[in-house]
């Protein structure tokens, strides 16, 4: 890829209307975090370079800036993505996942949750928000969610998460208030699984 192509990619595909699109994306994130497992649209016009998906791109442009180190996992990383993030948000890309404020990955190449920043007992907010591109937000195996923001229980069926996802979340939930907040995206749809949410397999379904 030539430099000229790189720079064209980097400068295009951002928000048409930065102020209001960022506000719309943030409100979707806020509502999603407040009601874990509910589906939300990301009202944005971004077109990030491959392999970063549009949902991840919308979240990056809305939430990241020079104050937020970003980590890119396999399947979300490329020279083009780095140049684009640098131009659109000025966010530094870091090599160590536990130094990141935001991490962007594909569900097939998810890092271990405890490899990311979990925050400290005194400052649990100093933790990574992990944005995971999944195949789809519906049609996968049933997961049961419980916790703040959920009236009783909520069932979600994201597709393509690693098999041990619920086990990893349980292990990580034991560290609460430390932990990683997760956002699942597919295209321009998303749901949030903040650290306060207890995730478990639907055992009944598995038994039957």
């Amino acid at each position: 890829m030539t430099e000229a192509v790189l720079s064209t990619l980097a400068v295009s595909g951002g928000f048409n209307d930065p102020v209001f699109e960022a506000q719309g994306v943030f409100r979707a994130l806020m509502d999603a975090t407040a009601r874990p497992g509910t589906l939300h649209d990301l009202p944005a016009s971004v077109a990030p370079p491959a392999p970063l998906g549009p949902g991840s791109g919308a979240i990056a442009v809305s939430m990241c800036d020079p104050d937020t180190p970003v980590w890119l996992g396999d399947g979300a990383d490329s020279e083009g993505v780095r140049a684009w993030l640098s131009f659109q948000c000025g966010a530094p890309v870091v090599q160590e996942p536990d130094k990141s404020t935001f991490a962007f990955v594909r569900a097939g190449a998810m890092p271990a949750l405890n490899a990311l920043a979990l925050g400290t007992q005194e400052y649990p907010d100093r933790s990574t928000t992990l944005v995971v591109e999944v195949e789809a937000l519906e049609g996968g195996p049933r997961l049961i969610l419980e916790g703040p923001g959920i009236d009783g229980q909520r069932t979600v069926k994201p597709m393509g998460l690693p098999e041990d996802f619920a086990a990893q979340r349980s292990a990580s939930r034991a560290l609460f208030p430390r932990g990683v907040d997760i956002v699942l995206v597919a295209g321009l749809r998303m749901m949030a699984l903040p650290r306060s949410t207890v995730v478990s397999h639907d055992n009944e379904t598995e038994a039957g």
Partner: protein, 309 residues
Amino acid sequence: MSAATALGGDLATYNFAYLDEQTKRMIRRAILKAIAIPGYQVPFASREMPMPYGWGTGGVQVTASIIGPQDVLKVIDQGADDTTNAVSIRAFFQKVANVSVTTKTREASIIQTRHRIPEEKLQAGQVLVYQVPIPEPLRFLEPRETETRKMHALEEYGLMHVKLYEDIARHGHIATTYAYPVLVSGRYVMDPSPTPKFDNPKMDMSEALQLFGAGREKRIYAIPPHTKVVSLDFEDHPFEIQTFDEPCALCGAEGVYLDEVILDDRGGRMFVCSDTDHCESRRADGHRGRLSPDEAYAGHGKTEGEAVR
């Protein structure tokens, strides 16, 4: 709509909702972490706002960071839409964000408040933004931030129970009437801001998202919807809220928080709803209290006499 607003001619242009985008992002990140860790106070780099610290700068920064052109904003102080500081904050957002405003609780998507939670049950999709003067519930027991932070980290809340129990030993009951501490989702002890404890039960399992902004103290915290919020108490001294001996003198409402209004210098007084919208809606629906104007016309002298306690 343009994202920039010119105030005072060409001299200065301000961004939509006053704050610059980088500041909004910083506050938005803090809000997301606050929702993910219910009741935990997230430090944030609070900005100087064009109104004084202690007058709602935290709430204003939270509202400015979440508000969009589709929002409908309601601002109350002491439960009323027409108190001067509520008027001033509402006017600020009309000027810098050009948003629709309302006094109707049910029409608002964002309600910024000081010292009250509306009487009407809040709905899913609504956001209640509290202005908070001192966010740290342990501050008056331990003035040092370095110490209180450790206490929250270790879930060491014994001191708070000791304080409440000393009240019981000395006065026979807990002598905290407002800013009454709560335990959020079984983990963090939280200051609900100086709302009367009458309002504490409304925080529990609310349909609405509750956000708290403390500008001078630089903290943001949150309670997501459907979250357990328990007022601290003891088995032999369970938490209880204030009750009033008489209904609202204007709309006849019972089980609401009332303001005491002094009518004359001879001890005459009346009790009326602190939530002005609630009171007005009830009166529009035909509810009447002892002193509501249309009744008062009939027997002015008599009703006024009755107001004297």
